[in-house]
C-alpha cells in the first residue's frame, strides 16, 4: 500500500511511520519449514488507521508480531524490511527491541482478561509502564495514570486505579488496556481484534477510542479484524489478507465500495446486515471451505479452491500483483486479464 489517503494527502510528503517491504516469514518447527507470510507490503502514516482484514489463519496477527519481533519461538527466517521511523527493525537485537515495545509501538489484544495481570491493580500495571518508559516517579506517574484514564473517558479514574481486573467488565478492561497502550504516546498502535470479545454497544465505544488515538494523539494504527463491518467504521485504508498474502489493498472507501478481489467480495457478502424489506431470508453468502494450511504448497492462487470465479490460469500460476495507481493493488488473475484499460477507466 502506498501513501495515498484522502485525509493525509497534505502530509503525504512526510515519511511514513511504518513501512513493511516485501516481508517473507518462514517458521521452522521440528525440521519442517512453514512459510507464513509472503511478500507483504504495508505502509502506515501518522494519524492513519490501516485495517488488516481476513479470516483466522490469514496471517494478520503474524504480520503484527513480525513488526514487534514477537513471532512464536523456534528458529525463523525473516526476509524483507520493516522500517519504523527510519530504523530497520528486522536487524535489532532483543535488548534494542525492548525499547520499542510498549513505548514506541504499543499493542491492544483481543482478550482483555488474559492480557491484564489478575494479581495487580489497574493502577499498578498502568504506573509500571509509565515508570519504566518515561522515568517518572510516584506522584508524577500517578498523575499521568489518572490523565490517561480520563483520556479513555473513565469517570472515576481514582476508583479504577485501585480496581483489580476481575472487578471490571469486558469493556472497562479494554479501556484500561487502551490507557496502558497509549500511556507512553506510542507512534504506532497495533490493535489486534480489540472488540471481538465485546458486545456490540461496547464495541462501538472502543472503536471510538481507537479513532481518537489516531486523530488526537496522531498515532499510526494497524487495526486487525475479521469483520469488514468493523474495519469499515474506523479505517482510512484497508489491506485484505488471505493465507499469508495481501490480496487487495487500497483506501477504505474504494475497497469497500468497489471490491475487486473475489475474496474481498465474499467477505463483504458474508456480513449479515439489514436486508431490505421483501428480500427476507436471503441466503447469506458463505465462503465454502477454509483457509489452506500454510504448509500446503500451491502453484496457483491460494484462494483458487474457494473462489467462485476460478479459471484455468488461477490454479496453474500465482497471479501477479496488479498495482492500479492511487495505492490500489489487487492480486488476482481476473484483474490482470481484464488489463490495464479497465483499471485506468475506473
Amino acid at each position: 500500500m502506498t501513501s495515498t489517503d484522502s485525509k493525509t494527502t497534505g502530509a503525504a510528503a512526510a515519511a511514513p511511520i511504518l513501512q513493511i517491504k516485501d516481508l517473507n516469514v518462514t517458521l521452522r518447527k521440528e525440521q519442517e519449514l512453514i512459510p507464513i507470510l509472503h511478500h507483504v507490503n504495508l505502509t502506515v502514516h501518522a494519524g492513519e488507521i490501516v485495517g488488516l482484514v481476513g479470516e483466522s489463519g490469514s496471517g494478520k496477527s503474524m504480520t503484527a508480531s513480525a513488526v514487534t519481533q514477537l513471532l512464536p519461538g523456534g528458529s525463523k527466517s525473516l526476509q524483507g524490511s520493516i522500517n519504523f521511523c527510519g530504523e530497520e527493525l528486522t536487524t535489532k537485537s532483543e535488548k534494542e527491541m525492548a525499547h520499542y515495545r510498549g513505548k514506541e509501538i504499543a499493542m491492544i489484544f483481543q482478550e482483555p482478561m488474559t492480557c491484564l495481570n489478575p494479581v495487580f491493580t489497574v493502577g499498578q500495571q498502568l504506573e509500571d509502564v509509565i515508570c519504566t518508559h518515561q522515568h517518572l516517579q510516584g506522584g508524577e506517574a500517578h498523575a499521568r495514570a489518572i490523565a490517561m484514564l480520563e483520556n479513555v473517558h473513565i469517570k472515576e479514574p481514582e476508583k479504577m486505579l485501585k480496581a483489580y481486573p476481575y472487578e471490571l467488565s469486558g469493556g472497562m478492561r479494554q479501556r484500561a488496556m487502551i490507557a496502558i497502550a497509549l500511556s507512553c504516546s506510542p507512534k504506532l498502535l497495533i490493535a489486534d481484534e480489540p472488540t471481538t470479545a465485546l458486545d456490540v454497544t461496547i464495541q462501538a465505544q472502543i472503536l471510538g477510542l481507537v479513532k481518537e488515538a489516531a486523530d488526537k494523539a496522531g498515532a499510526g494504527v494497524i487495526f486487525i479484524s475479521h469483520d469488514l463491518g468493523v474495519i469499515a467504521q474506523v479505517c482510512d485504508s484497508i489491506a485484505v489478507m488471505y493465507s499469508g498474502e495481501i490480496v487487495e489493498a487500497g483506501t477504505a472507501v474504494e475497497v469497500l465500495t468497489t471490491p475487486r478481489h473475489p475474496y474481498t467480495k465474499a467477505l463483504l457478502a458474508a456480513i449479515p446486515g439489514f436486508t431490505p424489506k421483501g428480500a427476507e431470508r436471503l441466503e447469506l453468502c458463505a465462503i465454502p471451505g477454509m483457509v489452506p494450511d500454510p504448509r500446503e504448497h500451491m502453484d496457483g492462487c491460494r484462494f483458487a479452491p474457494r473462489c467462485s470465479v476460478c479459471g484455468e490460469n488461477c490454479t496453474a500460476k500465482h497471479p501477479p500483483l496488479h498495482v492500479a495507481g492511487d495505492g490500489r493493488s489487487v492480486c488476482c488473475w481476473k484483474e490482470a486479464e481484464a488489463g490495464d484499460t479497465a483499471i485506468t477507466a475506473s
Binding site: H153, L228, G229, A232, Q233, T257, P272, A286, I287
Partner: protein, 320 residues
C-alpha cells in the same frame, strides 16, 4: 391460537450470593418473563452480556431451578419435575453452546461425542447408532471420515457443526442456540447460519436463538425479544424490531451495529463504572435512556402491547 409448544409464565431467577461474613446479596438475573413459543417458530433473544439471556436458556433446560414462575412444555408443567423425571425434557429440548472449543470433550472422538446421548436416551444397537451418527454428520455437512478424529483436529466452524449434530442426536423439537456464532469468523458464521436455516426447514425445528448481535438474530428468527437487566423490553416480529425499533435500548443496539457505509458516532457521554447497573426502582434502563423522565424513575414499565404482535416496556414511547 393453538397451544404453544413452550410457555414461560412469570419466570424469575434470583441468585443468592453469600459473602464471607455471612451477608447475603441477591442478583435478580431474570425478572417476570412471560413468553409463548409456537411450534416451528424461531424466536431470537438479544441483549448485552449480563442481561439474563443465557440464564433464561439454562432455566428452560432446567440446568438452573426457577425462583418463581412456571415453564409449560407441550401442555405439561415441567417446573417442579425431579431430576430423574427430567430425562424426557432433556431429550425434547437441546442446546448448542457458544464456545465450540470448550463444549466438546477433547478426550472423546467425534463418534463418542455423538453416540453418548444415544446411549443414555435410547436403546439402539451399536450398528444402528453408527448409521444414525453418520447420517447426522452428513446432515450438518461433514462426512463419516471425521468419526474417528478428535475435536482439536477441527476448525471452529467444524466444531460448531459437531455441536449442532450432537444436539440433534436425540431428535429434539426445540433447539436452544446460545450465541452459536460469536466465536467464529464472519465467513464461517455465514456457513453456520445458513446450515441452521436449512436444518430448521428440513427437521421442522423450533429455535430459541440467543445473541448480542441483532443482525444475526434477525437472519434466523421470526420474532425477536430484546432483553435488558433480566426483563423483556421489546418483543415483536424481527423485521419490525430491526427496521422500526421502538424501545430506546433497541435503537441503541441497532445504532451500535457495525456496517459498511455507516459512520461511527462520536463519543459523547463519558463512561461510568456504575452506569450500566440496572436500577431496582423504576425502569432498569433509566440511566442510559435519552427519553428518561420522572415516571421512569419511580415506576417500572410493564411489557404491554403497542401494536398487534408488537410489545413494549417503556413509558417514553407513545403512539403518535
Amino acid at each position: 391460537m393453538t397451544l404453544p409448544l413452550l410457555r414461560l409464565e412469570n419466570v424469575d431467577k434470583v441468585f443468592v450470593k453469600k459473602t464471607m461474613m455471612g451477608k447475603k446479596s441477591y442478583i435478580h438475573a431474570v425478572r417476570g418473563i412471560t413468553l409463548d413459543i409456537q411450534r416451528g417458530e424461531a424466536l431470537g433473544i438479544v441483549g448485552e452480556s449480563g442481561c439474563g439471556k443465557s440464564t433464561l436458556a439454562s432455566l428452560i433446560i432446567r440446568l438452573e431451578t426457577l425462583t418463581r414462575g412456571k415453564i409449560i412444555l407441550d401442555g405439561t408443567d415441567v417446573t417442579s419435575l425431579k431430576e430423574k423425571d427430567l430425562r424426557p425434557l432433556r431429550r425434547f429440548v437441546q442446546i448448542v453452546f457458544q464456545d465450540p472449543y470448550s463444549s466438546l470433550s477433547p478426550r472423546m472422538t467425534v463418534e463418542e461425542i455423538l453416540t453418548e446421548p444415544l446411549k443414555i436416551m435410547t436403546k439402539l444397537s451399536k450398528a444402528e447408532m453408527h448409521a444414525k451418527v453418520t447420517a447426522l454428520l452428513e446432515l450438518v455437512g461433514m462426512n463419516a471420515s471425521c468419526l474417528d478424529r478428535y475435536p482439536h483436529e477441527f476448525s471452529g466452524g467444524q466444531r460448531q457443526r459437531i455441536s449442532i449434530a450432537r444436539a440433534l442426536t436425540t431428535e429434539p423439537e426445540i433447539l436452544i442456540l446460545d450465541e452459536p456464532t460469536s466465536a467464529l469468523d464472519v465467513s464461517v458464521q455465514a456457513q453456520v447460519l445458513n446450515l441452521l436455516n436449512d436444518l430448521r426447514q428440513k427437521l421442522h425445528l423450533t429455535y430459541i436463538f440467543i445473541s448480542h448481535n441483532l443482525a444475526v438474530v434477525k437472519y434466523i428468527s421470526d420474532r425477536t425479544a430484546v432483553m435488558y437487566a433480566g426483563q423483556i423490553v421489546e418483543l415483536g416480529p424481527s423485521e419490525k424490531i430491526m427496521l422500526e425499533p421502538l424501545h430506546p435500548y433497541t435503537r441503541e443496539l441497532i445504532a451500535a451495529l457495525p456496517a459498511v457505509g455507516k459512520k461511527l458516532k462520536p463519543l459523547t457521554k463519558a463512561a461510568d463504572m456504575t452506569e450500566n447497573v440496572a436500577q431496582e426502582r423504576g425502569c432498569p434502563y433509566q440511566n442510559r435512556c435519552p427519553l428518561v423522565d420522572l415516571r421512569c424513575k419511580s415506576e417500572r414499565p410493564p411489557l404491554a402491547q403497542f401494536e398487534p404482535g408488537h410489545f413494549l416496556a417503556c413509558w417514553g414511547v407513545t403512539k403518535s
